[in-house]
């Protein structure tokens, strides 16, 4: 048993490191560090275009559509280096969510029309799954698409749509017929956000920011040509996607980096003249998290090894999602705890320098928005149900 990388793997790692070090410069880092500010879209698009120019924008795609052709080890190395370098992931909705559905289940016209523009970051996609009445119970969705000759007429309401305000396209699960089971009669539809009858309403979250939205459809006419695969089979296509979505949620490298930053910050926060990093209680809080992360790193490696051997991500992806998000939240909680009273300050009336404790704004924002991680992508309760059923056979 070992986790030694081959000489080729190490050479690849060095290449990735060097590319990130040169291309993800201080300017880019500064523009993307805020996460959701007004500069976010142009900044992340600029970064994605750099990745595309290098040919690294879509490691998960088959080579014929623009993938990198990397093996599983290389993909793992790439993702780890990205996280350790503090580089945000690509916007997943186009590249990681709808694209696999299009190249797996779409027709040739759809592939030709959408995939190149996704690779080039020309189209911004968003995800129209959840509805006010369909959250964990996604199949309860009732946005309807009524077949009317060349078009579907779509009516309904999607919610929690991340970055819909930037989007050119939305991929939606819509109800095209009433089946015996509610999973039947759902179709996978691509909708142009400029379609008359489509409106976006912002939702401000508890971190005070706007990344989520409601998307309303009122008699929006969508060409039948935008249907993926067969009508009423959309649930199957969406499900194929979900396991992939969850695997990416462990974010171990990102957590490693955040934990390192937290440890650094604990050297400059003092109490009674002692740095917090030397405080035995604070050390216990840190190691509670770090030990979980050390184990999860190897859990992920075990999943990765089985995938490298040809397995598909199964219920393990639920384990990675649950543990990964819980660790992420634990780091966010401890960072906010470190920020003490300053963690409550809002940036409207003063800058970080005036406040001192310059990470305090970020600590509050990340903690507050971070609460969503155990809710979205299938809540952690639902993930536990998946493990109970699929692994424990309950």
């Amino acid at each position: 048993m070992d986790i030694k990388f081959s000489a080729e793997d190490l050479a690849f790692r060095d290449e990735v490191r060097e590319f990130f070090a040169t291309e993800y410069d201080a300017d880019m880092a500064a523009r993307l560090s805020g996460g959701q500010g007004s500069d976010y879209k142009p900044a992340i698009v600029a970064w994605q275009k750099k990745l595309h120019a290098k040919g690294w924008i879509a490691p998960g795609w088959p080579v014929e559509y623009g993938g990198t052709g990397w093996n599983a080890t290389q993909k793992f190395i790439y993702e780890t280096e990205r996280g350790l370098a503090g580089i945000p992931d690509v916007v997943p909705f186009g590249l990681k969510m709808v694209a696999p559905v299009i190249y797996t289940f779409g027709n040739e016209e759809q592939k030709a029309k959408f995939l190149p523009r996704i690779l080039e970051s020309e189209d911004w996609w968003c995800q129209g799954y959840s509805e006010p009445g369909a959250g964990s119970d996604l199949a309860a969705l009732n946005t309807t698409a009524e077949y009317a000759g060349d078009d579907y007429i779509v009516n309904g309401r999607k919610i929690w749509t991340t970055f819909a305000q930037y989007a050119d396209w939305i991929f939606c699960l819509v109800r095209t017929s009433k089946g015996m089971r509610k999973q039947q009669g759902i179709s996978f539809l691509l909708i142009d956000m400029n379609t008359p009858g489509v409106t976006v309403k912002p939702i401000v979250t508890i971190d005070g920011k706007h990344s989520l939205n409601e998307v309303l459809f009122e008699d929006a006419r969508v060409p039948v040509a935008n249907l993926i695969g067969e009508q009423d089979k959309g649930w199957t296509y969406a499900k194929a996607l979900l396991a992939h979505e969850r695997t990416g949620m462990a974010e171990i490298a990102d957590s490693t980096r955040s934990l390192d930053a937290l440890k650094r910050r604990a050297t400059t926060e003092i109490n009674g003249g002692q740095a917090m990093i030397n405080d035995p209680v604070f050390q216990m809080r840190l190691s509670d998290i770090e030990m979980e992360l050390m184990a999860l790193e190897y859990t992920e490696l075990r999943v990765f090894a089985s995938m490298a051997a040809g397995g598909m991500p199964g219920p393990e992806s639920s384990l990675l999602k649950i543990k990964g998000t819980e660790i992420t939240q634990a780091i966010q909680e401890l960072q906010l705890q470190l920020a003490a009273d300053y963690g409550g300050a809002l940036p409207e009336d003063l800058n970080a320098e005036q406040l001192g404790h310059d990470y305090a704004f970020e600590a509050r924002g990340k903690y507050m928005y971070g609460r969503a991680a155990t809710i979205y992508g299938g809540s952690n309760e639902v993930q536990r149900n998946v493990i109970a059923k699929a692994v424990l056979g309950l």
Partner: protein, 380 residues
């Protein structure tokens, strides 16, 4: 044995409760936070008229002559409305310190103005390097013509922007971490050399950085004997922490109620989500957490009437640590069980959680107080 509030306490509790229910709905609160001052002067005057601002003060100054139980009764109800007017910082903290002062002239002058609503005050005790160690005071007060000259900077001073007066910890002798040598001064916000930079906090309240540059205060503004300020703070801190914990208890109970009610109406998988055992058990845990917090508070309230400072101190540290631990549990579960809607700024849940988080770090977080508890309990 009796854990009931007295008839008088119940009356004032009901009066605050009615105000929160009938006049302080969520939209009203939001409007107040978005206003220039961030508080309602109209409501503050009303609090004065209703006698709420007089609760902890002795009758000789025009007060109600209440105890920490009365404070807790008011604070718990204010918590249920996450009232942003500076009751805690002015009446409980500033007023509490002033009440314990040995400077009679100062008390006769200032306490009546708190009671009639004309004076808001705040305790300026945190410094950039001090974190929760209140005796870590780098701000200095040096004797000069006309009294003392104060130099230094205080951070996250609660409601500092609207405070008319501050009680300031400043070092008159000793080195940075010495408990003795810290003195308490009453400083008018308009004193030359005092600047206030106010900013909003996530709980809808505000805080300020208050800077003192050769600010001269008369010797008559000392709250007690020079260099013995920390003794006075120690004396008052239990009732301050119990007051804040009572507010937290009101918030916890409200969050639990909101969550249980929501699960009864939220349908998923063709049934109210309240029917899921996993959620039921977690709501039972948050219910028990709230009950345990209430018991810890009542333990403190009972002991406050007794004579054992050591036991009271232990209980109060345990209380603040319990509030931190269970406050976080209840807040996080409330958001999680609400799901997506719990993430929105529009829903009240997140706002209750944010106030709870601020109470958690005010005058020491859970770990800080648990360590103090350990020191009092387990020394060999």
């Amino acid at each position: 044995m009796n854990f009931d509030f007295t008839e008088e306490q119940t009356m004032i509790k009901d009066s605050v409760s009615r105000f929160v229910r009938e006049e302080y709905d969520f939209d009203t609160r939001r409007g107040i936070i978005e206003s220039d001052e961030g508080i309602s002067r109209k409501f503050w005057s009303m609090f004065a008229e209703l006698g709420w601002l007089s609760v902890p003060f002795a009758e000789e100054y025009g007060g109600f002559g209440g105890t920490v139980e009365d404070i807790a009764a008011v604070m718990e109800e204010l918590g249920k409305g996450i009232v942003v007017e500076p009751y805690a910082s002015t009446v409980v903290v500033f007023g509490g310190l002033l009440s314990a002062s040995t400077n009679e002239a100062l008390k006769s002058e200032v306490i009546p103005s708190i009671i009639d609503g004309s004076c808001m005050g705040s305790f300026a005790c945190v410094e950039a390097q001090s974190r929760f160690e209140m005796a870590d005071v780098a701000t200095t007060a040096t004797a000069c013509d006309g009294g003392y000259k104060i130099n230094g900077e205080k951070t996250v001073v609660a409601n500092g922007g609207t405070a008319d007066k501050f009680i300031v910890t400043a070092r008159t002798s000793g080195s940075q971490f010495d408990r003795s040598g810290v003195s308490l001064f009453l400083v008018d916000a308009s004193t030359a050399g005092v600047t206030v930079k106010s900013y909003k906090m996530m709980d809808g309240q505000s805080a300020a950085t208050v800077t003192f540059t050769d600010a001269v205060v008369a010797e008559s503004q000392l709250l007690n004997t020079t260099g013995e300020g920390m003794d006075l703070v120690d004396q008052v801190m239990p009732q301050i922490l119990m007051g804040l914990s009572a507010e937290a208890l009101g918030i916890m109970a409200t969050l639990n109620t909101l969550t249980v009610e929501y699960t009864k109406v939220r349908q998923q998988f063709d049934t109210p989500i309240s029917s899921f055992q996993v959620l039921q058990h977690r709501m039972v845990d948050t219910f028990m957490a709230c009950e345990q917090t209430k018991s810890m508070l009542y333990r403190g309230l009972c002991q406050a009437g007794e004579d054992d400072a050591h036991e009271l101190s232990k209980t109060v540290h345990a209380l603040k640590a319990t509030v931190a631990r269970y406050g976080r549990l209840i807040g996080e579960e409330a958001i999680q069980i609400h799901g997506g809607i719990g993430m929105t700024d529009e829903l009240n849940v997140g706002h209750f959680v944010k106030r709870l988080m601020m109470i958690n770090v005010t005058f020491g977080d859970g770990d800080f107080h648990q360590k103090k508890f350990n020191q009092l309990s387990y020394s060999a």
